[in-house]
């Protein structure tokens, strides 16, 4: 059913009895054209497969509930302020898809282009951000380089007077912002379902059937399912699932934590990152400050972290915003990052025919959801990479054509 003010009024007056389920809960069929594993980017992928490529006989298999993965536990920042040519066109494509998403899906995902501000605190950092800002502009992406005063005008309550690392300016992308994470899940899920995609929750893939070098189906906790093509988008579980087809990936699984404070009246109207510590923050529409920082730093399949990072993040918060000292954290959680060896994602075929891989998103793949689905669908349907994602090849590590935005080298926890 279509959502609108009118549907709300009509239903409201009718005691809200008329609303229909957002999606079906189908039993998985025994065979599909495409089986997508993982209901994060997988949902967007399924939607675009059906919508853009006319592939309706598609299933999304999800081991938990829709949105139980990182798409449902991230800090919701969307931006396209990347540095390297391999990344910029892709994330800008994603930004453009966000900008039209709500009308596309008839679902309010609260795309809020309140601006993303990366602070810098030294001249070398300024130079690096200038380099990045210029790269963005050359790619037709909006970017502004602010000095201290420019930052002060935007966020007056920062510590400008007593900072250990003075704020010297920031790189601002006004089109960046936040998107309501759960709404993205539900919006894509609902829209894909409406196009006939089977969304199967509580269905864990436990094996991948490979016959003569070709993937032909998956074993699941709800029985075997055959498929012409199998697409993996399982984030922190990428290595485990790929191993079912005998693959080893340039990926480690790490946990990153996030925090939300008690709700307060409007306080911060921008997304902000600290340049001299690990802290970034925005305020959710519910009023909580949603913030986070660095990875815990060690391989982890536990969706939770430890205290050193909690302290590190809060120290960063206090260094930047001394007025949040008395605000309280109500909840703190973690998610499983698919940290790649160069910090950039992979959208590619694999050595196994019919098996496609979407992984390596690190802590930055929420913003990518639309473009990731768009390009992954393109790859699956046409068997050729989408131009915007052409650099995300699996063989770039062997060749050395890595996409290393931070210049940290082949150590995932440093990206």
């Amino acid at each position: 059913m279509r959502y609108s003010v009118f549907s709300i009024l009509a239903n409201g007056l009718a005691g809200n009895r008329g609303w229909k389920p957002v999606w079906r809960e189908p039993e998985p069929k025994r065979e599909y054209d495409v089986v997508i594993v993982g209901a994060g980017h997988g949902l967007a992928t399924a939607y675009y497969l059906a919508k853009e490529h006319g592939l309706g006989n598609v299933a999304v298999l999800e081991k938990g509930y829709l949105g139980s993965g990182n798409i449902g536990r991230n800090t919701t920042i969307v931006r396209s302020n990347y540095l390297l040519p391999g990344n910029l066109p892709f994330y800008e494509l994603s930004m453009k898809l966000w900008e039209g998403l709500e009308r596309e899906l008839n679902y309010n995902a609260m795309v809020s282009q309140r601006g993303v501000l990366n602070l810098f605190h030294s001249d070398p950092q300024r130079d690096a951000y200038a380099r990045r800002g210029n790269a963005m502009r050359l790619h037709g992406v909006d970017a502004e380089l602010l000095d201290t005063e420019g930052v002060r005008r935007l966020v007056p309550m920062l510590d400008f007077d007593n900072a250990r690392f003075p704020i010297r300016g920031g790189l601002l992308q006004r089109r960046g912002g936040t998107v309501r994470h759960d709404a993205v899940v539900w919006g894509y899920g609902r829209a894909a379902d409406a196009l006939g995609v089977d969304i199967v929750q509580n269905c864990e893939v436990t094996g991948i059937r490979v016959e003569q070098g070709r993937a032909v189906g998956v074993e699941t906790t709800r029985g075997p399912i055959r498929a012409k093509k199998i697409a993996l988008a399982v984030a922190g579980n990428s290595s485990r699932v790929a191993a079912m087809a005998g693959l080893r990936l340039p990926i480690e699984t790490h946990v990153i934590q996030a925090f939300v404070s008690e709700g307060i009246k409007p306080f911060l109207d921008i997304v902000m990152t600290f340049g001299a510590g690990h802290f970034y923050v925005s305020q959710s529409d519910k009023g909580g400050l949603v913030f986070g920082g660095d990875l815990d730093g060690y391989n982890s399949y536990a969706q939770r972290g430890n205290l050193p990072v909690v302290e590190d993040v809060c120290e960063g918060g206090m260094a930047l915003l001394p007025s949040i000292g008395r605000l309280r954290i109500v909840r703190n959680w973690g998610g499983l990052m698919d940290m790649s060896m160069d910090g950039s994602p992979i959208i590619d075929r694999t050595p196994v025919d019919g098996l496609y891989l979407n992984a390596g998103w690190c802590y930055g793949g929420f913003k990518a959801t639309p473009a990731s689905g768009w390009c992954f669908a393109h790859l699956i349907a046409r068997d050729e990479p989408h131009p915007a994602a052409a650099a995300y090849r699996l063989d770039r590590f062997a060749s050395g054509r890595v996409i290393d935005e931070k210049g940290m080298g082949a150590q995932p926890n440093l990206h």
């Binding site: 709300i8 008839n106 690096a128 519910k286 000292g325 909840r331 080298g409």
Partner: protein, 1002 residues
């Protein structure tokens, strides 16, 4: 009863009982709530004091701005949130039930406009039918631009209850560590008996309780332990624990989370019970308690029964009612209706009656009402309604009456100002799940009970589902004994406790289906029964979906009182058992923790430690401008009187150095002693070039790669003896390189006989550069030391005697390109040496120069530094290709050989000068062909570093340009859209000055 809501009345604490309670009536405390001036007693919480004063309306709800009162007596409170304190100390969303009253306390109600009593936004209630769960996902989509401009600001203004202070927090916070054998979490009967047992066995025990004093329910209920009133027993237990040296009782301390390795996070509210922390004392202390064993005795949280209007001020949990009456001698009303599904109803009725409150009706949801409850009802002269329920609590800003429906369906309408409700108890198992343990649903108790526990944790008392007082005491003692015994302490015999009779029987009853009006499941987030049903209808049937769609349990109380009922309603709506529906995940913190507490000491200037160079004090006296480089503070430049901007100073420093002589503190460079017979061999493997062949008394530039073939760091390393090298790293990478070397040694080549240690801090080291450098050095060295070009040529290195016999080291190195030396002395002489250098250098016109001038000179010389060695560049990119030895294996050698890393089309190091010499170029500008548009297709590289070259009189830069070295002489453009620049620049070799390097060899 009107008195209950009569704000005009001022006579002192009209709702305070004449006697009793654990309060100190000898002192009166004054406090303010909104425009009211009120009084209370030590021992009160803000909530109990408000109750004693007849204040029942304390806040407005999140979405509908409905009047709200006090619902609980502990940290599970969903309703009574206030802004505590004022100004920079304002704390929004503070639970009145956990605030200890102090003299002069000031609190304000939240989320109301203009006033609490007349809140205009209450009109939201009219729109309620359209503001159901998730309504916002279904609209506000058109037109897109309106979201940020119109809809979102409106939603955000409405959301969020309290207001942040908006000023820097004036108080300070501390971190601390504690270690123990047994950590007891919760100091109720179970916790106290556990602590006593473990302590008697000789274990180091920490007992933490979030309350101001231990005791738990024993402070709230009229119970007997061993014949003594509960509070007396508690006092005795405290007293015994206090005598034991290895026991620490931590009051006002909430254990908020369980972490790996027996680490428990706890927050001690050291000074929240006073107006402001005394000088030198923190407001709060964040503890990391490392415990070998933990006994969770966190008790249980009472459940409501959900009915229409259950959010009205005056509707209160029965256990809370008893707490206010018994512990605080404050009566929450004068005419009460008691509604429960369990045998504690009797105690509630009895306690109310004993306090002289009329109990008008006793509603028991069970048809079989136990004798105790019947008797209590009769004694109190209340009508008893077996198998009954409340279908609506009527009233405005406070309950005025209750509409009761009897088992037979008869409606009874009774006037009342208090409804004490109990739906039974939910064990506080939160902390058992923090490490991923899944609780298990117990049908009999209609509760989740602890499942898999964190290693070393056991659970006792109500938290484990033992609701009887006697069993709480017994189980606590047993848990204490076991915990100690498991650590090898003697197995003491658990004390046996006697408690008065009680029955804990109950029959689950979650919500009243035939309620009239809104029935709230989550009081703080305004989630109603119909919201839950709507969500179910829309397919949000999984517990986690329900939570996210309705926001059930996502408020500051995390659904401590509402979640269980929410799941029950969902189960019913989807025709499944509660077990099937499952539960949402508990996460830390158990109760909210202030961000400042986690930061502790590390804020403001103390955010990170500051490293000061040996010449810091001298430079400071001299008025140097400092810059943060990593944790170091370094002199950036030294302004002279009359100089107005940095460029003037820096230009002067460079000119003076190039024409005469300058000095710069380079002590911050990483310095590593690499020693042992295999030191040379080891360096050959970690450096791309060769060091085993370096003669003693010589230094050499070295380049280090990462194993993936990209450049890691560079520096010079001198050979001081056959088996002793002195390595320097960049300031930024000092720690990283040390770690890298130790990895290479310990994990890759442990067979090598080499030892390494950082000596960064041991040496104060100064670069003395410029044509007169030798004169200055000669003047500093003790006589008889020859530093002539012949005796001490370029790249020579060796020990020297400085200024009267101080043992130093001299290196003939040059970053500036001038004749230059680096002179090192033990750091304690650093301050004296810089002063001596300036003194001895004066005749030669010496100037100190800072990191800026250093940078200018290295750019003039084309030396790559941090902006070029950025982790993305290869040796080949930086023109160091020839350094890579082909005679040996070294870290990164194989991967550096890959085609992609040596591809000629990669951006490679070049020099840049503006075609129009008067133009300034900027680092970060991108390089595009002269006549091409500045776009992605034509992006050929970028400018890494720039400087105004005093020697050349114009701006110069270094850059990384595709095929750069083949393009010297070509003109390209430096496009800098973020700063509005776009200027033609000429590509040239990176070295602008003295390319043959003659000056540094003179």
């Amino acid at each position: 009863m009107s008195a209950a809501t009569d704000f005009a009345r001022r006579d002192a604490q009209p709702f305070r009982l004449a006697a009793g309670g654990l309060i100190d009536r000898s002192r009166t405390l004054r406090f303010g709530f909104d425009d009211l001036e009120l009084t209370g007693f030590p021992g009160d919480t803000l909530a109990s004091a408000l109750i004693a004063n007849g204040v029942r309306l304390v806040g407005r709800s999140f979405k509908y701005h409905r009047p709200r009162g006090i619902f609980c007596a502990g940290s599970e409170e969903p309703n009574a949130l206030v802004e505590l304190r004022t100004g920079a100390r304002r704390e929004p969303n503070t639970k009145a039930t956990t605030v200890e009253l102090y003299d002069g306390l000031v609190a304000d109600s939240q989320n109301r406009w203009p006033t609490l009593r007349h809140d205009l936004l209450a009109v939201n209630q009219l729109a309620a039918p359209f503001l159901g769960a998730g309504f916002y996902y279904k609209t506000f989509m058109w037109p897109a631009s309106f979201w940020e401009k119109l809809y979102e600001p409106a939603i955000r203004r409405a959301a969020g209850l309290g207001r942040a202070a908006g000023m820097p927090d004036p108080d300070h916070y501390e971190k601390s560590h504690a270690f123990c054998d047994v950590l007891v979490i919760g100091g109720g009967p179970a916790g106290l008996s556990a602590a006593l047992a473990a302590a008697r066995a000789g274990a180091r025990v920490i007992l933490a309780d979030e309350d101001a004093r231990p005791g738990g329910r024993l402070l709230a209920d009229r119970r007997l332990v061993g014949g003594r009133p509960g509070p007396e027993w508690v006092t005795a237990a405290e007293a015994e624990l206090a005598t034991m040296p290895e026991v620490r009782i931590m009051r006002r301390t909430t254990v908020f989370g369980v972490y790996d390795g027996g680490v428990h996070g706890a927050l001690e509210r050291v000074n929240d019970h006073v107006p402001a922390p005394p000088e030198h004392e923190p407001r709060q202390r964040y503890w990391k308690i490392v415990a070998k064993r933990a006994v969770l005795a966190a008790g249980s949280i009472e459940r409501p029964i959900i009915f229409g209007g259950n959010d009205r001020p005056g509707v209160m949990l029965a256990g809370a009612v008893r707490a206010y009456v018994n512990r605080f001698a404050a009566v929450p009303g004068r005419r009460a209706v008691v509604c429960s599904n369990n045998d504690e109803g009797a105690a509630t009725v009895a306690d109310l009656a004993a306090a002289g409150i009329d109990v008008v009706a006793v509603v028991d949801t069970r048809h079989e009402v136990p004798a105790a409850t019947r008797d209590a009802a009769t004694k109190a002269g209340a009508i008893l309604v077996p198998g009954g329920r409340i279908i609506e609590a009527k009233g405005g800003r406070s309950v005025r009456s209750a509409l009761i429906r009897s088992g037979e369906g008869r409606d009874i309408h009774v006037g009342c100002d208090l409804i004490a409700v109990s739906g039974g108890w939910t064990p506080s198992i939160h902390l058992t799940t923090h490490l991923g343990g899944r609780p298990t649903w117990n049908e009999g108790m209609a509760s989740l009970l602890p499942g898999t526990l964190p290693p070393g944790m056991s659970v006792a008392g109500a938290a484990a589902g033992h609701f009887g007082l006697a069993s709480c005491l017994a189980e606590g003692a047993r848990a204490g004994v076991e915990a100690a015994a498991s650590l090898g302490f003697p197995r003491v015999t658990a004390e046996t406790y006697r408690a008065d009779e009680e029955s804990v029987a109950f029959a689950p009853f979650w919500y009243v289906k035939d309620s009239i009006g809104k029935a709230f499941v989550d009081l703080q987030n305004d989630v109603t029964v119909s919201d839950v049903k709507l969500a179910a209808r829309e397919g949000f049937r999984i517990a986690e979906h329900l939570k996210r769609y309705t926001t059930l349990g996502m408020a500051t109380d995390q659904g401590k009182t509402g979640n269980a009922a929410g799941m029950a309603v969902l189960a019913e709506a989807t025709e499944r058992s509660i077990a099937e529906v499952g539960q949402t995940t508990f996460r830390p913190p158990f109760t909210p923790v202030a961000i400042g507490a986690f930061a502790g000491h590390h804020r403001g200037k103390d955010f990170r430690p500051t490293r000061l160079a040996p010449s810091h004090r001298w430079a400071d006296e001299r008025g140097a401008v400092f810059v943060e480089t990593g944790n170091w503070l370094r002199a950036q430049w030294y302004p002279e009187p009359g100089e107005t901007d940095w460029l003037q100073s820096v230009t002067r420093e460079v000119q003076a150095t190039r024409e005469r002589v300058g000095v710069c503190d380079v002590s911050t460079l990483g310095k590593i002693d690499v020693q042992g017979p295999d030191a040379g061999l080891f360096l050959d493997r970690v450096y791309a070039n060769t060091f085993s062949t370096l003669p003693v008394g010589k230094a050499r530039y070295g380049l280090m790669l990462r194993e993936d073939g990209f450049v890691l760091d560079d520096g010079t390393t001198a050979r001081l003896a056959e088996d002793h090298y002195f390595m320097t790293t960049t300031t930024a990478n000092a720690v990283k390189v040390m770690q890298h070397l130790e990895f290479c040694h310990q994990c890759i080549w442990p067979e090598l006989d080499v030892q390494m240690v950082s000596v960064t801090e041991q040496w104060a080291q100064f670069a003395i550069a410029g044509p007169r450098a030798r004169d200055v050095v000669t003047a500093l060295l003790d006589p008889g030391q020859d530093v002539s070009n012949e005796a001490f040529p370029y790249l020579a290195a060796g020990p020297v005697s400085v200024c009267g016999g101080v043992g130093g080291r001299l290196y003939r190195l040059s970053f500036s390109g001038e004749l230059a030396y680096e002179l090192g002395v033990p750091a304690r002489f650093g301050d004296a040496l810089i002063r001596a250098i300036m003194e001895k250098g004066a005749p030669f016109g010496i100037v100190p120069y800072g990191t800026e001038a250093l940078g200018v000179m290295r750019i003039e010389k084309g030396h790559p530094a941090g902006n070029e060695i950025n982790g993305q560049t290869t040796a080949h990119d930086l023109g160091f290709g020839k350094l890579l030895s082909t005679k040996k294996d070294f870290i990164g050698r194989f991967m550096a050989g890959r085609a992609a890393l040596t591809d000629a089309s990669r951006p490679r190091l070049v020099g840049i000068r503006p075609v129009d010499r008067s133009v300034r170029i900027r680092a970060g500008a991108h390089l595009v062909p002269r006549d091409a548009p500045a776009d992605a297709a034509h992006d050929e590289g970028y400018v890494t570093s720039v400087a105004f070259s005093p020697s050349l009189g114009h701006w110069i830069g270094l850059g990384l340009l595709s095929r750069g070295p083949e393009r010297h002489g070509e003109v390209v453009r430096a496009a800098d859209p973020v700063r509005g620049g776009d200027t033609p620049v000429e590509v040239c070799p990176p070295c602008f000055i003295d390319p043959e390097g003659e000056r540094l060899r003179v």
